[in-house]
Subunit: 107 residues, 2 copies
DNA sequence: GCCTTCGGTAAGTACTAGCTTACCGTTCGT
DNA sequence: ACGAACGGTAAGCTAGTACTTACCGAAGGC
């Protein structure tokens, strides 16, 4: 298998093409061929990316005749969102001591 | 420059090591050397990752003597969270028509 | 039944990003 | 002023991943 196996939703979204797929599926569910028409890559490449996204739990697929319709998985997206919330809360509660010192370069 | 330039916070979080750094900085701000002690990589590698995270707006740095203390940037984290919210909302509002058809393999 | 459409898989290639060591500038301590 | 600590940068190597074309199975239309 030359395809990449994502352990994590973050790894899956680390690729710009996969983010484009996710953004596309956020509008409405689409078949593999539809995605390949929009994106600047071949259809097999789309399949490989969809496999990664599916393994990461970010999309779900459903057979519809000969076509296979992929849609965004809200649960997977929510999982990432919760993790970001954790970071965000820790960053705020732990240390506001330098609220007036934003990213100074040097003296 | 052999260092990777992230266009996006997603690209920055696409790397497991950078996620470890972010998780570490979420607890409390740390200097570069402190991070290098905890992480299984060399100090220059940490520096390179911090540059990527800084360019992505996920961390901020502050000079403290000879040391340089990095901390998580709540604004950067919030930006990613908002984007996930958008995806999440679209996924829910656009198509709940198949709420009872989760990831079936085939007939 | 046949052919077409659709999509996943295999094999192979090219590029890029992450790591290392080596080096240099800066700041503090004495 | 000298030395040490801290950290950013350069150059180079390696690994892995994103892409391609070719092939194959499955489901529908006529």
């Amino acid at each position: 298998m030359a395809t990449y196996q994502a352990d994590d939703g973050w790894d899956a979204l680390g690729d710009p093409t996969r983010r484009a797929i996710v953004a596309c599926l956020a509008e409405r569910p689409r078949a593999v061929g539809e995605l390949a028409e929009v994106l600047p890559i071949s259809r097999p490449a789309v399949s490989q990316h969809l496999k990664v996204l599916k393994d990461a739990g970010l999309v779900t697929d459903r057979a519809a005749g000969t076509r296979r319709v992929y849609r965004l998985n809200p649960a997977g997206v929510a999982a990432l969102r919760d993790q970001l919330d954790t970071y965000w809360n820790r960053a705020l509660t732990g240390f506001q001591d330098a609220a007036e010192t934003p990213t100074e370069e040097e003296s």
